[in-house]
Symmetry: C2
Subunit: 435 residues, 2 copies
């Protein structure tokens, strides 16, 4: 006997959790499609040289990397961005630019497992590659907005900033060579608070005055993004003009699209990653800020510089499916039926199997999902199965019902039963499911 | 510079191919759901001991197997059946029996790449575990039937047989200890012809008389399965009674469900795999028999005997997504639009971006997928993009149109244009898309 078990840090997804995950992913795909994004897929395994050195030493160490049967040095992808970069460089001649793609797939990282973090998880990315237009940035924020509304979430905030504003200030303060450590420090603001960030900025070589100026920008708050932008423009000087213009276009575009209170300007959003060069996005659930951003992204100047001399600027974001699912569950917003077919036909008389099959086929053909219980077990056992499985209705026909040409329809939530003429079942069940 | 390339035997899936694959997978999932099957997922990586020795030496050699960071001997799954067996044994106490699951996921085999065969491919399995009832076998055939119809395929045949009939004959011929080599030989019949099968049977120790009797069974043909069953019952004797009864129930159940000419009895279908014990299924595209079975499966007595003392009988099948896609393409049956959003709004005047955004938002809210071109490039370039991308309609508004409150809607297939009042656009585009 071999003990049936999953690897440390890995897990199975059981039906209830999988139904919720499929709901989130299907909703996301539908939103991506409504904006014209196209699906792609890339292999789980890549040459290690493609993946190495892209996410820092820790990412390299966490990679599932090995020699394959042909002595190739290979590794499992740890995100969907590096594969996109390789894909775009490799297939540029086959792609129409701007290239708008989405990619939903598992990635693997040999991290130390923590609560809610696994070594295999699903990423859900969308990007527009091949245009520097701010309109693609606006669209990225719009997609995030529609996505959360489509998931039935009304309390969320997309926090938007622009790196160019931040860089403009650093330019004015003669801190251009300190951009990376300053970004890293500021990125921790929400987590560790201003005191520890101030200490880290001091370690990075900032004077007290420079730190004070920086915090003036980070602290700009307000309910009107245009007033905030105005305030920021005075602080950052000419070097930040492009960023100020882009933020203005962003919030005007969002307003024109009917997006108001769900999009906020947050001048302290830095996103630690070096490669963002313009807009940056983070998305928080209002009632659960502590779980962190559930959808993040931004603009980058050049996606594929490692693989191609051609420049591929772009903008995109990534939905944290597992983190969002955890949040939805905590907020009680996961309302996916446990059964995929709303109706269970009870097998009451084993000898009537062909009548049950004919009825099931007729109901399915009318568009109703139907499960037929496979064995003539006791009625109570079958109803218990239906109740636990999450079916809404059980259809029961014994010899009495067959003789009368009627069926008993049991509403599982209330326990009530109604008699329905067999010929009327498709119509009646349709209205009962609709109600 | 690192050369952007995929590993030998691996490939990227570009949007056109991915749209077709998503269409097949989404259709399959919808059919599975309409019968009450539930989705699950399992990790790509398993302990090697879970996977080893389940598919023969060749499968073991083809496994992507390595030591992980924690010195665990791990491997990537090569099918979805072994993970299901491990899953069922591990989670039996959390599952309702009968447990009906589907699982759509990639698997990996380090085979020598051939035309149309890759080292990574998607499997699409559905199984009913925990019941020995023939009704679950009937349902398996019904799911295959509905699946192909839902994909718009009308010319296909589900070839059905039952191992118990075959075993009954071997029993009558005193060949019970020769079952495995006989099955392996018969499984090749369609591929290599009767002469080579006869030679292989002789190697397996069958006498000429035994071979003649065996071929009598394999050769039973006809258009009425019930006549074929009758003929077979005389040949196989009492030992095959159970198989004969099951085949009868199968074809009666299919007939009751409205399935007639798409399901045929083929007493020569053996399926080489040892573990099938009852019904076996293969599905062929009538116009492309040479690509082999595109959906195969059968009944097994015990799924998880390696991992559990409890018996888990079941029945299921696997859709060969990539093989089917190749077939659909060859038959010209892939008719998926190349664009995910039917409408492209042309960016004619850069300064009107907020008006275009407002229009796009309004159309999307009315349920129409809309892509907004991000840059104010020349009209011709944008229309060429729309045409190549596969959009159906381009919506054009310049200053003249804004002043008049109308939009030009260009039908890309015909090149025709119509003027539509901006307020009427949602309704008009809805009817144009519907038509």
């Amino acid at each position: 006997m071999i003990e049936p078990r999953t690897l440390k840090g890995f897990r199975d997804t059981l039906p209830t959790a999988m139904l919720a995950r499929e709901h989130v992913i299907d909703t996301a795909k539908q939103v991506f499609r409504s904006f014209g994004y196209l699906p792609i897929d890339t292999p789980a395994l890549e040459y290690s040289e493609i993946l190495l050195g892209k996410g820092g030493d820790e990412t390299d160490r966490q990679m599932f990397r090995f020699m394959d049967q042909g002595d190739r040095d290979v590794a499992m992808r740890f995100d969907l961005t590096i594969p996109l970069a390789r894909f775009v460089a490799q297939h540029a001649h086959e792609l129409r630019m701007p290239f708008k793609r989405f990619h939903v797939a598992p990635v693997w990282r040999g991290e130390n497992p923590q609560r809610g973090r696994y070594r295999e998880f699903v990423q859900c990315d969308f990007d527009t590659v091949g245009t520097t237009s701010i309109n693609a940035d606006i669209e990225t924020a719009l997609v995030i907005h529609e996505l959360f509304l489509a998931l039935g979430i009304s309390d969320f905030g997309i926090r938007i900033n622009n790196r160019k504003v931040f860089n403009g200030l650093l330019h004015r303060l003669d801190l251009v060579d300190r951009i990376t450590p300053v970004l890293r420090a500021v990125d921790k603001l929400a987590k560790v608070g201003p005191e520890r960030v101030t200490a880290e900025l001091s370690d990075a070589g900032l004077s007290e005055d420079q730190t004070i100026e920086l915090f003036k920008l980070l602290d700009i708050e307000g309910s009107d993004p245009f007033e905030q932008i105005e305030e920021a423009s005075h602080l950052v000087g000419d070097a930040g003009d492009e960023g100020i213009d882009e933020l203005t276009a962003m919030f005007e575009g969002l307003r024109a699209s009917g997006v108001t209170h769900h999009a906020v300007l947050d001048l302290s959003i830095a996103r630690g990653l070096d490669y963002y060069t313009g807009s940056v996005f983070e998305t928080f659930l209002t009632d659960l800020p502590e779980i962190g951003s559930v959808c993040s992204g931004g603009r980058y100047d050049d996606l594929a510089s490692t693989y191609s001399r051609r420049e591929f600027p772009g903008v995109g974001a990534s939905l944290g499916v597992d983190r969002l699912l955890a949040g939805l569950e905590e907020m009680g917003l996961i309302d996916v039926p446990g059964a995929t077919a709303p109706v269970l036909i009870v097998m009451f008389e084993a000898g009537r199997i062909n009548d049950y099959l004919a009825l099931a086929a007729r109901l399915r053909r009318s568009g109703i999902g139907v499960e037929l219980y496979p064995e003539a077990r006791k009625l109570g056992a079958q109803l218990k199965y239906a109740d636990r499985a999450g079916h809404s209705f059980a259809v029961i026909l014994g010899e009495t019902e067959f003789a009368a040409g009627t069926a008993q329809v049991k509403i599982l939530a209330s326990g009530e039963s109604v008699d329905v003429r067999v010929g009327d079942l498709p119509g009646t069940l349709h209205s009962m499911i609709g109600a």
